[in-house]
Amino acid sequence: MAVKKLGKQTVQFQNTPIIIGTSTTVGPKEGEGPLSQYFDVILKDDYYGEDSWELAESKMLRETVKAAISKSNKNISDMEYMLSGDLLNQLMSASFAARDLGIPFFGLYGACSTMTESLSLGAMLIDGGYADNLVAVTSSHFSSAERQFRFPLELGSQRPPTAQWTVTGAGAAILSNYGHGPKITHVTTGKVIDLGITDANNMGAAMAPAAADTIVNHFQDTGLSPDYYDLIVTGDLGVIGKEITEEMVLDKGYNITKVYNDCGLLIFDNEAQDTHAGGSGCGCSASVFCGYIYQEMQNRRINKVLLISTGALLSVTSAQQGESIPGIAHAVAIVNDES
């Protein structure tokens, strides 16, 4: 019997998994952004000493895992699972990193929702008694993503105002049964929702309905209200997607305006850094959560967070065939112990 299930889409943990440590690596542009002080490693060059951007992204993911493990005072051999994914075809960054690390590996694809997807499944593995320590990690890289999904970098094309900027960054979180740190209390798994947006330059609008649906379901399933949280934060909806989500959630009777923000808006200064509608990519919510939010939770400036990473499940093939963009969003509730 599913005793830990709450309502239709939510899980409530009994042995609440603890996030005992995190680490982040970001690219030069992210390092110039408003959150720069919260990142562990800021690359000077986004080739990261490798021959290709794909290998650079994989190295970023791998080194971030190593740093997170050592910051948590663990060894690589203590890790029982690595739950990871990225944006590249066939999860190149994650699987190449897993090859070098030698941790038992589950490759996940949830587009930019992969951070909460991996946290969700990781938390379930721990609460279920299948592991004591594991690592949840994702990455994205502006240049490798641009190359795969859009145009060559040196092509003189213009970006429309709704376009978002893929974050070069990786974030890793170590989940454990024992230790100190913020705890994962609930997970709300999202449905794939598609309201017929076909413009790949307006991902925020494509993902917003999925984010709103997951947030509303989270409140309905748990009976919690928006006031319970100090911060409700979506992954990478950007300016337009954030506004739409706010209105759609309000439409269902929950006012989240006061505590709501978006990682894509936190990581860049859109005006000064010319990032149009904001940041995006797996690395966006990963680096903002594992960097800024986790540190603020440790300092107890933020105590209750609902993190909703959002993914646009399009591919080059589906976009070229003119299909609309399905969206997905998973919510993870992370709470500090009362003290």
């Binding site: 145009f151 040196e154 003189g156």
Partner: protein, 118 residues
Amino acid sequence: MEYIKAFIVGGIICVIGQLLMDSTKLTPAHVLVTFVTSGAILTALGIYEPIVKFGGTGATIPLPGFGYSLAKGAIDSVKKAGLLGAFTGGIESTAGGVAAAIVFGYLMAVIFNPKSKK
């Protein structure tokens, strides 16, 4: 005067392209294809020739000018060589530009590496 004409005609053709891109979801590749094809068709209809006479490089350097050379080459060759000219004329008249694009394109790709965007 020649320079001003080239500036104005070239500028206007580019503005048409810009408005096309801004008001539709056309990508640069779509714009390039549309412009080459419409340049060729306009030439066949006898509309582009006067624009070239007036604007000089302002009409030949933008991509409709590429279509102009293609169509004009085909028509001139048909006049000289008959049916075969339809197949050889367009490519002959643009051979220099296309070969240059391939050779310089290859060389630059071998010499340089792409830079990350800031």
